[in-house]
Amino acid sequence: MKHTKPVFYFLFVALIFSCSSLGFQSDELVIDDEEFGIEGGRATDPVHAIPTSTPASRRRVDLDSSSDSKSVQFTLEHAFGDSTYSPAGTFTARLKTWSHGGKTLTKLRFSRNGLTDAEKDAFKRLLEEDNFYTIRVPSNVLNPPGKGYILSSVPARCIPRESLDEHFVIHTDGVDILALNYGSAGSCQYPRPLKFPKKWSFNSYTVMKNSEQARRTPTFTEELLAAETGEEEALKAPERSFWSKYWMYLIPLGLIVMNAITQAMNLPEEQQPAGQSASQAPQPIAQRATNSAARRR
């Protein structure tokens, strides 16, 4: 037992190291969750695509059991409209075996086979008919085709730009492929115009997507009390200014005040004429008096 402890510690440290190195390794994969492999039209040697770099081997030295990686290949097949499937390219990925037994695919590379003349004609026909170009991959990488093939289709007219631009998103779960999202690299117009590419070669972008963890539900244990009391406030509408709260009272009030002011303004004016009339009053009376006097006369 006493011997095992240092060994265990060592393993632990090694594990941490390996984890960090793994973290570093998978930085570009796990955090970005995707990797672009831009390949030309010609098939490249798949061996070149697998980086047999030293860190990997060193890691294997560090701990044999916790992680292991080997390369796997699976083929992409395509069909033109209703035609049968034929191989179109090869995906190469690194299979990583984790200490807990899980396996994941990383470092996806893709090499497209060039289009043969027959395929080119078939593709042209598809473009003219505005029909679907369909591709498929096996649903399990290790023992293809697994539960069946994963299909994906796109109207052929979406693909041609300068060359044939295609974009793959492969959703994986361990060594299983869930779905293959295939389409043009950019947007696809509708209605789709007939357009032939200048270069009859594929320009492929591949992205591999792994699972994304959901955020944990926020828990405020210490704020619970505050939240409970604050809930009432939360239910209410957000706080409003004095004006927005009481405008319906303020406007009539303003009207009344204005009314009162105008009245008050009018009052002195009216009083002035009234005063004038008061001062002038004797005159008409006098006039009247004179009139009456005149009438009496």
Binding site: S139, G148, I150, S153, P218, A227, P238, N259
Partner: protein, 983 residues
């Protein structure tokens, strides 16, 4: 003075508009609630004692209920839930209702008068078996307080006083099927008889005292048995042999078993085809069901089998009941067109009839399926009989003295699908008298309301006001209203009956039992029932009536051909019905209508070929024009595969049929079987209206919602976590949520919730999805929201560009473009578990949304979508607050006032349907389960109309008073001026 009036009026107006929740006196104004029980399986009468006469029933909806024999009202009712089906029901000690449920593993006693649970006993269970309940009927003896239960391979004796287990005995061996548990002449012993591997007859003779097996007798029968046996008399059982060609009578007495085989063709030569023993208790008689008739047999005095009578179909026999010592009777129901002849006959002497009656039945009820009889003593001391009839449409009738005393539409407890229909447009030409009358009523009502407002009303007045509100003739009219509150809800039940319910008061306007789905017409179990709007006339709404389409098939088999029926929505008349020449897998209503406004439907058959309906040249023109843009998908829940299809030319099988199209597989998604199991798929409602794609957020920025009709939400859970909550550790459980575009098969978003377990409920609307699941780590239910925004339009923010038209907002979008979406999500704890979930829909989609949640307590809770906003933060900024963002909390609040069902329960809630009214603010809500509930809600309050309670009289009086005041002050001022002049 005028200003003060105005102010007062303004304040009054404000107060009348703001109203939240439902006040006590508003209950029943816009809502109605109907209670049902479902199709009756067993019925036990309790009418001997004085007091209220009642019948206790158990139903296929797992309800036990006590019904008033006089009115059919429910005294009490218990819904045992989906996983607790009632197997047997009986009355013990004259005061307890004993129910055996969950395949014989739970025994309960309920108090007969009020339905209180007296005791509950959970019984030992080792293997699924028949569940049998034997309640000794002899009165006044001690042993009467014991009930015997067989279930799960165990025989139990249980005290009916407190549910205590007196003894138990395991009677389980591999292949043993115990079929009857009975006592012979109330002796101290009990018999349990059954078949072993359908080859051997086994009888256990068991002591009642301690469960000891006194004797075990076995005897093999070379040709084997078919189905189940029936106890005919105290020591004779009958069964069919394996070839169903002969009747085997099994005579057993202490220790000895003897078989006697009689060929059916020997005694009834005309019988041909498949025969079956009808499981009934006729004490000495038994019946055999053949293709053509029902044959009644009896063992004569020397033990030979003789035919007593032959009844032609459809005939139903009841179990026998004893009226006096030694006199047993049973009922025979025979159909003749729409009439039913009821005859009650003596078991001993079939020729004499104790009762003979004929009743007229509504043709839409179908045939009688079950009958239970009960006797009573008439005023002249002779015996009278009442019969409880269970009809083909699952309704329940009580017949007494040749009349239907009451009827219950219990088919409405099993609604499978629903749709709505507008009512007819109101025709002109209303008589003047009517107008005057209603005007008078109107004024009277408003005067009363005015009195109430001014607090002058007496309690009588208040009662009158309440009555007037509830019985407003306005809401039950059979015509369309301005606000779109009055509609017909058309529901389809499991029995294949279509009902039209009025939204005003929930009454059945018409009902139609589809002939092609009736059991008597050879449709054993109607399934995949789908109700859809077929024709909604707009141009000719005055002359044409709308119609609905019912699609169904008989039997669960995929290869069964479907039935296609069109029903007039106003009258309930069957317009046309046809049997489809192909099978029925999926129905897709298309968003197109032909020139007669019939909706185009695609029916997908089991070969994935699509058939277009209606079969008119017009519809095919429309369809072919759009065929390149029509996609559909299919889901295989068992295999975990989703596949997308488009159409590709004519059918291969039938090139002649121009309405048949071949499908081409476009995409597939395969969920790995070891890590994911499909749990739920949710889609947007096809008729949902989105007001605007743009969402202006706090900092005056614009976000564009990703709005696509083809957006589907899929949730998968780990296969290990498919069981009950708590059956796995959090490490083994996860839930994966997907947002998938159904046209291209693209996964737009995929996210894993570790430690989450089903059951999953989800609702999709506009650009968001809300789903509910259990969080094993936090030991709580949780709700998550995902909102998805379109980034490809995000740069359309320049006002100048928008003004000059330099934007891509009007260009068509193709789903084949590479999606540029951003996703925002958040999770919140939620206290309740959820049965169903839906979202409110309004006419224009302007009103804010509420989630309607069917809770475990069978209530409907309205939860504002604002609480499920992923952009909630702990401390929102001032501008965010202005936008209406609520500060982040970890739990969603449950506000008691926001229960839509207020104090009511929609027992066994299975679905909530929301229907937009014409008024933008209002949504009609229809919830169904065993009960039905309807109400209307306004998620943002009724901002676009005055409430019904608005006091027009007060307004009128105010105006009159104002005018009067103006006149008076004018006259006064005139006078004053004159006076001033005279000074």
């Amino acid at each position: 003075m005028a200003a003060r009036f105005f102010l007062g009026f303004l304040i009054l107006l404000l107060h009348s508009i703001i109203s939240c929740g439902v006040y006590e006196d508003q209950v029943g104004l816009a809502d109605w609630h109907q209670r049902y029980i479902g199709k009756t399986k067993h019925a036990v009468f309790h009418s001997h004692k004085t007091g209220r006469k009642r019948v206790v029933v158990s139903t296929e909806e797992n309800v036990i209920a006590s019904l008033d024999l006089r009115t059919g009202d429910i005294f009490w009712r218990h819904v045992l839930g989906e996983n607790d089906p009632v197997n047997q029901v009986d009355i013990s000690l004259g005061k307890y209702v004993i129910t055996l449920s969950s395949e014989g593993s739970v025994l309960r006693a309920w108090n007969l008068p009020d339905g209180q649970l007296i005791w509950e006993s959970v019984l030992q269970f080792s293997a699924p078996s028949r569940s049998l309940l034997h309640v000794p009927t002899k009165f006044g003896l001690e042993r009467e307080s014991v009930v015997f239960v067989f279930g799960g391979g165990w025989l139990h004796a249980i005290s009916s006083i407190d549910g205590e287990k007196i003894w138990k005995k395991e009677l389980y061996t591999e292949g043993l099927d115990i079929q009857q548990v009975f006592q012979q002449d109330d002796s101290d012993s009990l018999y349990a008889v059954g078949f072993l591997d359908s080859l051997q007859f086994v009888a256990y003779h068991i002591s009642v005292k301690n469960g000891e097996v006194l004797e075990e007798s076995k005897k093999s029968f070379a040709s084997g048995f078919y189905g189940s046996m029936l106890l005919v008399s105290r020591d004779i059982l009958v069964a069919l042999d394996a070839s169903r060609s002969s009747i085997v009578s099994i005579k057993f007495s202490r220790g000895s078993v003897s078989f006697h085989q009689t060929y059916i063709s020997d005694i009834v030569p005309e019988v041909a085809g498949i025969v079956e023993i009808v499981p009934s208790k006729l004490s000495g008689l038994f019946t055999l069901k053949t293709d053509a008739s029902l044959v009644l047999f009896r063992f004569n005095s020397i033990g030979e089998l003789v035919v007593e009578n032959t009844f032609s179909h459809p005939t139903i026999l009841s179990d026998s009941i004893s009226i006096t010592e030694g006199h047993q009777v049973f009922a025979v129901m025979q159909h003749a067109e729409t009439k039913v002849h009821i005859a009650v006959r003596f078991v001993n002497d079939l020729t004499s009839e104790a009762l003979k009656e004929t009743i007229e039945l509504h043709p839409q009820r179908g045939n009688v399926q079950k009958v239970f009889i009960n006797n009573y003593v008439k005023t002249d001391r002779s015996y009278g009989f009442r019969a409880l009839l269970v009809m083909e449409d699952h309704s329940l009738l009580l017949v007494q003295q040749g009349k239907i005393v009451w009827s219950r539409e219990d088919g409405l407890a099993s609604v499978v699908d629903s749709t709505t229909s507008e009512l007819p447009v109101e025709k002109d030409g209303v008589s003047v008298a009517k107008v005057e009358h209603s005007l008078f009523e109107w004024l009277k009502g408003h005067l009363l309301k005015l009195k109430e407002t001014l607090m002058l009303a007496t309690p009588d007045d208040i009662a009158a006001i309440q009555e007037m509100r509830l019985k407003s003739s306005e809401k039950t009219k059979m015509t369309r209203d301005h606000n779109g509150f009055r509609k017909l809800i058309i529901v389809l039940t499991k029995a294949g009956k279509v009902f039209a319910l009025h939204t005003g008061d929930g009454r059945v306007v018409w009902s139609l039992l589809l002939r092609s789905l009736r059991i008597s017409e050879g449709c054993e179990c109607p399934s995949v029932l789908k109700l859809s709007q077929w024709q909604v006339p707009h141009h000719r709404a005055m002359v044409e009536s709308p119609s609905v389409l019912v699609l169904a098939k008989c039997g669960p088999d995929f290869l069964q051909s479907g039935v296609f029926s069109i029903i007039d929505s106003y009258t309930g008349k069957l317009r046309s019905s046809q049997k489809l020449p192909h099978s029925l897998l999926q129905v897709i209503p298309l968003p197109f209508t032909d020139s007669t406004e019939q909706r185009l439907h695609l029916v997908i058959d089991s070969n994935f070929e699509a058939h277009l309906y209606p079969r008119t040249p017009d519809s095919i023109d429309i369809f072919l024009r759009e065929i390149s843009n029509i996609y559909w998908y299919a889901v295989d829940y068992i295999e975990g595969i989703m596949k997308g299809y488009s159409f590709n030319g004519k059918c291969k099988a039938d090139m002649e049929d121009q309405y048949c199209f071949n499908s081409k597989e476009l995409w597939s998604i395969i969920f790995p079987a070891h890590s994911e199991k499909l749990a739920i798929i949710a889609t947007r409602k096809m008729n949902e209206v989105v007001h605007t794609q743009a969402k202006v957020i706090a900092d005056q920025d614009v976000m564009y919602k990703y709005i696509s009709k083809s957006l589907i939400f899929v949730a998968t859970i780990s296969p290990k976590a498919a069981g009950e909550i708590g059956s796995v550790t959090p490490e083994e459980a996860w839930l994966i949520a997907y947002l998938i575009d159904a046209v291209t098969g693209r996964i737009l978003h995929r996210v894993i919730h570790q430690g989450a377990q089903g059951p999953v409920n989800a609702v999709v609307s506009e650009n968001w999805v809300v789903y509910h699941y259990f969080n094993l780590r936090a030991h709580r239910y949780e709700m998550s929201v995902i909102e998805i925004y379109d980034q490809s339009r995000a740069d359309n923010k320049d006002v100048l560009k928008l003004v000059l038209g330099k934007h891509n907002l009007t260009s068509p979008i193709s789903l084949y473009s590479r999606p540029e979406v951003v996703v925002k999500s958040q999770s919140y704890f939620f206290t309740h578990s959820v049965k169903v979930m839906t979202v409110t829909t309004t006419a224009k989609g302007i009103t804010s949304k509420q989630l309607l949640i069917g809770t475990i307590a069978d209530q409907v809770l309205a939860l504002d979508k604002r609480y499920l906003d992923p952009r909630r933060t702990a401390s929102p900024t001032q501008s965010e607050k202005e936008e209406g963002i609520i500060p982040l909390t970890d739990t969603l609040p449950i506000i008691p006032q926001s229960y839509v069902t207020h104090s009511l329960q929609v027992e066994g809630i299975r679905g909530i349907v929301t229907i937009p009214a014409k008024l933008e603010s209002t949504t009609l809500v229809f919830a169904y389960g065993v009960d039905l509930f309807f109400t209307r809600i306004a998620p943002s309050r009724t901002y676009d109309s005055l409430t019904e309670d608005f006091n027009y009289a007060l307004l009128l009086i105010t105006i009159v008073a104002l005018v009067a005041a103006i006149l008076v002050t004018w006259v006064l001022s005139e006078k004053k001026e004159l006076r001033d002049r005279w000074k």
